[in-house]
Subunit: 326 residues, 2 copies
């Protein structure tokens, strides 16, 4: 086991902006060792008064949309043009299996990773979505305590991780390619309706016309959607990481969103709701972890799964049988 | 406590199409008494080999879209033109509070409720969404065992019940009003993308042009959506319960969907996945019910909720505190 410090050591280090201690604290919240978890809770409770002062931005898009390049360019813009301190976190339980499609390899964001105002943390290896979700939420708070005032949470638009990210950020940005055809098929249904903004990437050279056409199309489609509880109407824009264009437009959209939702109280309400939701989800995860780790449950589950799938036993009777084992 | 029979009595009655025993068995699955639940599991396991032979259709739409009238008319069409035996179930935990907006009052479907080929069962009173969801799933199976080969599960397009319904049906139909303006605001975001078909209601008299315009608009918008895992492209049509038009078109869409998904294996796969999902959800519900019924948890939860919402304690530390009470 790696060496651990007392909680105060992490807290002081984080508040002083010490990246080594920040990284070690994130490792702590990612750990499943009970002793680490207890230490992590203590650290979390102590940094908590120093959290919340950032804009939390979720970014998703299918592989091929140019997500890393966008985050590298947009992140650099946030640092240089908006004087932000930026942390980039990833939530993708499959990242290690798919060969580092998402932050698995820091060098994919070479410029950002060398920028002293940026902190990049890849998704932890070998974790379930639930595990990644929980530790990413805590990592956001740790980064905020360390003084980062713009947090990007990156995910891939093909799984269930989008919902998880949507539930932990203030603003959700969907990256899309021009052309409403085959390229879209990788995006999971339901994700478009979660987006606060859509950015059409690679709007450069011979792509510009196509990108602008896609922009109008999506803007029209979004008008058909029910109005969000925030009162915000999602915006569509085009951008090019290659030519460094459209980034100010996206930032403007984000600040407009912040103004609207901070004025009408939605921003604060959403964060409070998210806090509560995180607690209930942590409870659910805790209950399920304990249940599925039970040796009796582990032994009987596989056979029951099969008979339930085949329709030989009702799902409810099977569940009752397993619950009785506790 | 009401009188209970042995499991076989219910099973025999249901298989013989006895509605009184069917209703009593549904009451059994709705009951939270442990003895009732055990009896219900026995009944469920015994009817299980006789289930599955229906098309399960979820129908949603905001209040005012004419849902009851549509189900009455479409249901009568299914019985008369398609020789179906129809069961209509409702999933809406708020139905009793909102004054019977949804099947709370059987007389809202007067014709159907008097039709000997139809069986209508309102949503159980005073239940949580989780409770309603579980009992509705079991009720579907009981109705199938009783010989009903078309099951409509009705819900209101304003809450979380749509996702629950979507997870228990084969085909999901969204009813909408013409005009993409204010009327839509009641529909929850994300529901449009769950729909296998959209039907624009009240396409009669001076509404026809508007309804047809809305149809084209939605059809265009749906083309922008990612293709569903079923390979199915959602269809939009118009209908009028008043003039009895457009119902055959909707049925045709449903049969086209069935043909496609039964041929490509999606139909069977979805049902198998749903079975498994129901089991995991029943486990989750069972774990949470037990947890939140714990007197210690009950006592400490309210105060913890407040400090978590206010950001005075981290969600994870609060969850850990509560989990330790077990």
């Amino acid at each position: 086991m790696a060496k651990r410090f007392a909680a105060d050591k992490y807290v002081e280090g984080i508040l002083a902006g010490n990246r080594v201690l920040l990284s070690q604290a994130i490792t702590l919240v990612e750990s499943r060792l009970p002793s680490d978890q207890e230490l992590a809770h203590e650290v979390m409770d102590k940094v908590l008064p120093h959290t919340g002062n950032s804009i939390r931005i979720g970014i998703t898009g299918v592989p091929g949309v140019g997500k890393s390049t966008f985050i590298e360019t947009f992140g650099t813009y946030l640092i240089q043009a908006q004087q932000k301190k930026l942390a980039v976190l990833a939530i993708d339980p499959t990242s290690q299996r798919s060969g580092g499609s998402i932050l698995g390899d820091k060098t994919r964001m070479e410029l950002l990773s060398m920028n002293p105002q940026a902190y990049i943390r890849p998704s932890p290896a070998g974790k379930s979505l639930g595990g990644v979700t929980r530790s990413t939420r805590e990592s956001i708070l740790l980064c905020e305590a360390a003084g980062f005032d713009a947090i990007i949470v990156e995910t891939v638009g093909v799984g269930q991780s989008e919902t998880a990210v949507h539930e932990m950020v203030d603003f959700f940005l969907l990256l899309m390619l021009a052309g409403a055809g085959d390229e879209l098929q990788g995006i999971k249904r339901g994700i478009m309706e979660m987006a606060d903004a859509i950015a059409i990437t690679k709007a450069d050279e011979q792509n510009i016309l196509k990108a602008n056409a896609a922009k109008s199309e999506y803007q029209n489609a979004l008008h058909l959607y029910p109005v969000a509880a925030s009162g915000w109407l999602p915006k569509v824009s085009v951008c090019s990481a290659l030519q460094n264009t459209g980034l100010d437009q996206i930032w403007e959209t984000i600040t407009e969103y912040l103004q609207l939702t901070q004025n009408n109280g939605f921003f604060e309400k959403k964060r409070r709701d998210q806090n509560l939701q995180w607690m209930f989800e942590a409870i659910r995860q805790g209950l399920e972890e304990k249940f599925y780790a039970n040796p009796q449950v582990k032994m009987q589950l596989p056979a029951l799964k099969t008979v339930v799938q085949e329709g030989q036993k009702s799902a409810f009777a099977a569940a009752a049988e397993l619950l009785k084992l506790l």
